[in-house]
Symmetry: C2
Subunit: 392 residues, 2 copies
C-alpha cells in the first residue's frame, strides 16, 4: 500500500537538511515555516496572499478551537477543513492537547483522556486520543498529530516521566484509532502515487530532561509514525534548555521522516533548529507580533510605534520583497498603527509571515549550497545588529 506522504532529503549540510515533503495536496520544500490558521484563517492575512504572493504550501489548523467552534458536525457537513475554509493546499492539525492544557481550567485528567471546560462558554467537553483522531479525521488535514500530554517546561524528572508514559500510551491509542479511521476513509487529493489518506506524526516529550527525551524518542519510533515532532519546548523554559534538547535530540530522530519542532519560534530559534536538523516549524509569532506593531526584519525586530519612523519613507525591511515592503513606508504604517487602523495589523502580519517563509527559503538555498553555517552566522549578526536602537 502506498504511503500518505513522501519524504526525501535533497541535501544536507552538517546536521541541517533540505528536504521535499509531498502530501496529497501540495509539495512542501523544507526547512519550512507553517503559518498558523488557528480557527481556519490566518489572522489578518487572506489566503489569496498566502497562495499567490507568499506561496505557502502548508498551514496549521487548531483542533481544539475548531472542535469547539464551528464543531465537528459543521466541519463534516462542509466536507472537511479544506472545503470549509477554501484552503486547498496542505493542513497540519494539532491534537488539541496543548490548548486544553494551556487555555482551559477545571481540567480532569484521567487515563482515558481529559475533561475540561470550554473557554468559550464553560460547557464540559472531553478529548482523548480517540476523540482527537476522530476530530482530525473530520477536519481531513494532511498531517494529523497524536494526542499527547504536555508537561510544564519546568516539570521535574518524576512528573515528566509519568507524563511521558501517559503520552506513550496515548500515542499507541492514537495510532490504533487513526488506522481504523483511515481504513474506512475515502482517498482524496491529487498525487497518484500517494494513498490519498492522512498521515500521522508522533510527538516526543520529556521537557528538559535529556534522558527522558531519548526514551520518549525510542518509544515513539517503536510505535512508528509518518513523521516525528518535538513537543513541549518554548513553553516557558530557558532558551538554553531548548537548544540543548534540540542539540541532543533532533539529529537522532529518524532520517527517513520529517522532523517537526512544534510551536517554535523566533527567527533565531528557526535558524538554530534548522542547524540542529529540524525540518518543520510553526508559530503564531508573525501574526501576533504584527497585531501589536512589531515587525521582523533582516536587521532585527522593530516597533512601528517608534517616533523615529514617523517621517521615514523607507520600507519595513529593504531586504524584503513582499508586497508591503515594495509599496508602503514606515511612516505610513506607523501612522496607521497610531491611528488604530486594522490595516496596520493586516500589513505588519503580512510582512512578518512573508519574512518567516522567506527566511526558511533562504536557509534551504544555503543548505543546498553547503553554506548553512555561514548563512546562519551572517543572518544572526544582522538580526542582532540594530535591535538595541529599534525601540523594542
Amino acid at each position: 500500500m502506498s504511503k500518505p506522504i513522501d519524504w526525501k532529503v535533497d541535501a544536507s549540510d552538517g546536521k541541517a537538511r533540505a528536504g521535499t515533503l509531498r502530501t496529497r495536496r501540495s509539495v512542501i520544500e523544507t526547512p519550512v515555516f507553517m503559518p498558523v490558521g488557528t480557527q481556519g484563517a490566518l489572522k489578518g492575512v487572506r489566503f489569496e496572499w498566502l497562495e499567490n504572493e507568499m506561496d505557502a504550501r502548508i498551514i496549521l489548523g487548531n483542533t481544539y478551537h475548531l472542535f469547539l467552534r464551528p464543531g465537528v458536525d459543521a466541519i463534516k457537513q462542509f466536507g472537511g477543513l479544506h472545503r470549509f475554509t477554501s484552503w486547498e493546499r496542505s493542513f497540519l492539525t494539532d491534537s488539541g492537547g496543548f490548548q486544553v492544557f494551556s487555555l482551559t481550567d477545571l481540567r480532569k485528567l484521567t487515563e482515558e483522556g481529559v475533561e475540561f471546560r470550554s473557554h468559550l462558554d464553560g460547557s464540559k467537553r472531553f478529548l482523548s486520543p480517540e476523540v482527537s483522531m476522530e476530530v482530525q479525521a473530520a477536519l481531513d488535514s494532511e498531517i494529523v498529530m497524536v494526542f499527547d500530554e504536555c508537561p510544564p517546561g519546568d516539570a521535574g524528572h518524576e512528573q515528566t516521566r509519568s507524563s511521558l508514559e501517559l503520552t506513550a500510551r496515548w500515542a499507541a491509542r492514537s495510532k490504533k484509532r487513526f488506522n481504523e479511521l483511515q481504513s474506512g476513509a475515502p482517498a482524496s487529493g491529487g498525487a497518484s502515487d500517494l494513498s490519498g489518506k492522512q498521515a500521522l506524526f508522533g510527538i516526543i516529550q520529556g521537557a528538559g530532561h535529556l534522558d527522558l527525551r531519548r526514551e520518549s524518542l525510542d518509544r515513539t519510533v517503536e510505535i512508528g509514525f509518518d513523521g516525528y515532532a518535538i513537543g513541549g519546548l518554548s513553553v516557558g523554559e530557558e532558551k538554553a534548555v531548548m537548544y540543548d534538547v534540540l542539540d541532543h535530540l533532533a539529529h537522532q530522530m529518524p532520517e527517513d521522516a520529517p522532523r517537526y519542532l512544534m510551536g517554535v519560534g523566533t527567527p533565531e530559534d528557526l535558524l538554530e533548529g534548522v542547524e540542529k536538523g529540524v525540518d518543520m516549524f510553526d508559530c503564531v509569532i508573525p501574526t501576533r507580533n504584527g497585531r501589536t506593531g512589531s515587525a521582523f526584519t533582516s536587521k532585527g525586530k522593530l516597533n512601528i510605534r517608534n517616533a523615529r519612523f514617523a517621517l521615514s519613507d523607507e520600507p519595513l525591511d529593504p531586504g524584503c520583497s513582499c508586497s508591503v515592503c515594495k509599496r508602503y513606508s514606515l511612516g505610513y504604517l506607523r501612522h496607521l498603527y497610531q491611528a488604530g487602523e486594522m490595516n496596520a495589523s493586516i500589513m505588519l502580519s503580512h510582512h512578518n509571515v512573508a519574512f518567516f517563509l522567506d527566511l526558511m527559503r533562504r536557509a534551504r538555498a544555503a543548505i543546498i549550497a553547503g553554506e548553512y553555517s555561514q548563512f546562519k552566522r551572517t543572518t544572526l549578526e544582522n538580526l542582532r545588529a540594530s535591535t538595541p536602537e529599534s525601540g523594542v
Copy 2:
C-alpha cells in the same frame, strides 16, 4: 488656461446622467461611489484590492483626521497624500467642517472660523476656510471641498438661513485662498490637457428648506466652482426630506459640472440620487457595516451572525463576482465573525465596497441603455425582497 478637471455627460436618461470625470490622476466614470479612506486607508481593505479587483478610481480622505494625525508637516514631508499612502489614483478631500461639528465639543464658532478641541488629545485647534484650503493643498487631493458649516438636519428656517449665509461667505474665502495656493503650486499628474492643479467644489446647504436650498444653490453657482456638492443631508433627517431636497435641487445644479451628494448612503439612497441627477456619492456604510457583520447583497442586507447561515456553502451574494463571493461561503464567513477573527471584517468590508462600486457601474450601463427606471425598479424590488427574513 486649461482646467483642473474635465467633465462630460455621456448619456442621460430622464434626470439620471452617465458622465466621465477626468482628473490629473484618473478617469472616473459616473455615477460613481467613492470609498472613504478616512485616515489615509480604507478600513480593512488594502489598496491592491481596490485597484486590481474593484478598479476604484477615486477615494476620499478626511481633512479633519489627517490634519490632526499625522498632521500637515508630516504630509508635506512625504509630498502629499498620494505619496504618503501610495494611492496614486484620485483623492477627494472634504473640508474638515463636518467632523469638527460632529466629532468635537467645546467648539467656538466665529466669523473667522472654528476653534475646537481635538478628539484625540483635547488640544485646541483651529480651522477656517483659509486653513482648510492650506491643509487640502498640502494633501494635494484632486478635488478640494470648500469649508462650510453644516447645520443640524432639523434646524429651523432662521438658523439654517444664518448658517447658509456664513457658508456662502466662507465659500468665497475658500475660493480666494484656494486660487492663491493654486497659482503658486507646481502642476502634477499625467493628463496633459489638464492644468495639473487641484479642483474646488462648492457645497450647497439649506437643510430641509427648499427655498433656502435654492438660494444656496444660486449663491454657490454665482461664486463659481469646478463642481457642486449637496451637503447636510443624511444627518438625521427623515428619508423623505432628503429625497424631497434631491428632487427639487439636483437637476437644477449646473449641467456642465459634476454633482456630488456628500456622505450618502445606502444602496437605495444611491439609486434614488442617481435618478434625481446626482453623479457622485461617498459613505462609510460599506466598511462600517462590514465590521459589524452586515453585508449588502442584491437581495437586501444580511446579518452574518444569523444562525441559518451556519451550514450554508452559498456565497454572500450569488449575483456578485467579487473575490470574496467567488471563494468564501456564508458558513465560513459566519464562523470567522463569531470567532472574532478580523478576517470577517476584512472580507465583509471588501464585498460591501465591491457591491457599491458594482451597483453604480450597473446604474451607468442602465442609463446608457436608456433603461434606468426599469433597472432601478427591479433592483429596489430585489433589495427589498428578502430583508424581513435576513435577520437584520
